[in-house]
Symmetry: C2
Subunit: 356 residues, 2 copies
């Protein structure tokens, strides 16, 4: 691979070996497979445990020791206090140039926090966003923000739209992603003040803005990027996930009610497996933190090896295709960049603390 | 039935015969069946059309003529301009005492608007809310608000909680409804300023407040009443509906891929019908407008006769059980009533117009 912009032609992805429900075993397996597929990987975690799983796989990958792990349910600020967490150390490898991107299946709040505080925003960006890829009719839809920013300004929504557009072009090869604003009605008059302002402003940009969208139309696949505040994005993401889970639960009950149902259900097993796989959020591993000065890909906490491999290969492609710079260029091109210097969450928090 | 509070022992429900995708035929059918079950009904709509369907059913019910119909996609203010719409006339019958409650399968924005402008809020209530009953594990959950109030104050959320509690007690016989606040995390620290304030305040009331809830846990049935602003409520409602729709669509595709699948699917048809019915929002006809000075029940626009009958019987029970007064009493008991006089949307709009 020939680099186009001065990056080393061979990239390295730092993988948080300790984050996720199946860490470190499945993470190590996924990393080994990604390496087989040609991606340079460095594993970060408790060195003995990680090496144990590597040797079980008769594989040899570089490992960087990190003694600490951020739990899946720890508060977001753990990232700040836990200086030797595998996630923090992985992010630092990217800061120091020893790695080019990071993949973690850990606590998503901590992932956002560490990316923001360690790398800061990319110049021109006001607030980074957490994107999530959801299954929808005929494909996937990127929803952002899904939790990082409870409250947003219309200028944040504009930046989310552009970041999402660039990501769907690069990560999913969609030439002209359709961008929509999540609202409580498809009319331009619907939504909060911020949504109405963003709707007006998006019409003036060169993105393919298809207007406001309601939750049901998101799953009908009417847009490739759905832009929203992190609160409604979280509601959309979690309710979708909840409904899928409950339907399969009900279906299992219905299909085991009597011997005939059981028999018929057995015949349909391959169909159900395909359906479940298609709807399973886990399969869509690879939620990016967008707007930070680095490539950070978050897999679902339940990810197994295959999802981890996918996420590592995705991170590798995003580094190769200069996701971060391309976002900066697009914001500049649309005239929607924020005119301030890079913000680091750590510094922002420090300033706020000193104001008290 | 002996009335406990001076209402006439026999109640009359005014039914908007023209609202909904299957109006007037299915509405008339549903009303005739409700009448057979002992509810006094008056149908409101284009008298010739309504009588035609009545005579086809060899039934005789009182009909009040209303020449106009509010379309399903008309803007909300249509209710104000269309003085002879079937919905408006039905609400006026309740104002004048000729009816005790109203049922409509029409445009839900117009339903809210007409109830608010014609009847006003019940004294002590700041903002009415639109409730929706969603299917969830082991039952149903009332979500409110689902669209009337895009922005809310914490005091509105408190009133929604109490209104929802009273409704679930009366309409669904739940002795101690579990009340939750929709948020982007179950911790008390999650959510907007308004949610945090409401969380704190709800802990001081005598309602059974179970804390913050995320979208997935709503469908797991962790609460009986989910309180939120109308924007997130709409996102929750619509995304749930969208996911159910898409899963069934995918399933139909999967189950018709090959002859064996088709055969097995045919054997499972009763199971799928049960599942679909259980998840179908239509079956949960009966979304109340709460906080207005009257009983207004909105059915899904796609409702057929059975859902209409259910909604009419529900409205009848709510009148009989004094829903409106019981909500007022509960707000007073909890000390959460608003100390202003009854508000009518029409008057509020008029005042705003005259300020300009």
């Amino acid at each position: 691979v020939i680099s186009l912009n001065g990056h080393s032609p061979k990239r390295t992805i730092a993988v948080d070996a300790m984050g996720g429900d199946h860490a470190p075993e499945e993470i190590v397996k996924g990393a080994v497979e990604a390496h087989r597929q040609g991606v340079d990987v460095v594993l970060v975690g408790r060195i003995d445990e990680v090496r144990h799983h590597l040797s079980a796989l008769r594989a040899d990958l570089p490992v960087v020791d990190a003694t600490d792990v951020i739990g899946m349910d720890e508060p977001v600020t753990s990232g700040l206090r836990r200086r030797r967490s595998s996630l923090q150390v992985a992010a630092e490898l990217a800061s120091s140039g020893e790695a080019d991107g990071v993949v973690s299946c850990g606590n998503s709040a901590a992932i956002y926090f560490v990316a923001f505080s360690e790398w800061g925003t990319y110049p021109g960006i006001d607030r980074p966003a957490f994107g999530a890829l959801l299954p929808c009719r005929n494909g996937q839809v990127l929803v952002l923000d899904v939790g990082a920013n409870t409250i947003v300004k219309s200028s944040n929504l504009l930046q989310f739209a552009i970041m999402g557009e660039v990501y769907m072009k690069l990560a999913h090869g969609i030439a002209t992603p359709r961008i929509a604003l999540l609202s409580n009605g498809s009319e331009d008059s619907k939504g909060t003040k911020e949504i109405k302002e963003a709707n007006e402003a998006l019409r003036r940009l060169s993105v393919n803005f298809v207007g406001n969208i309601e939750g049901n139309h998101v799953f009908e696949g009417q847009a490739d990027v759905v832009v929203c505040d992190g609160f409604s994005g979280n509601v959309l993401l979690k309710s979708g996930e909840g409904v899928v889970h409950e339907i399969f639960r009900e279906m299992r009950k219905e299909l085991s009610r009597d011997p005939l149902s059981k028999l018929a259900a057995a015949a349909l097993r391959p169909a159900f497996v395909r359906l479940k796989r298609r709807l399973d959020y886990e399969e869509y591993g690879g939620a990016p933190v967008l707007g930070v000065d680095g490539v950070m890909i978050n897999c679902h906490g339940r990810s197994k090896a295959r999802a981890v491999t996918n996420a590592i290969c995705l991170a590798d492609r995003m580094v190769q295709q200069n996701l971060v710079e391309r976002i900066g260029d697009a914001l500049h091109h649309e005239g929607t960049e924020t005119h301030h210097r890079r913000i680091r969450l750590r510094r922002a928090l420090h300033l706020r603390a000193s104001e008290v």
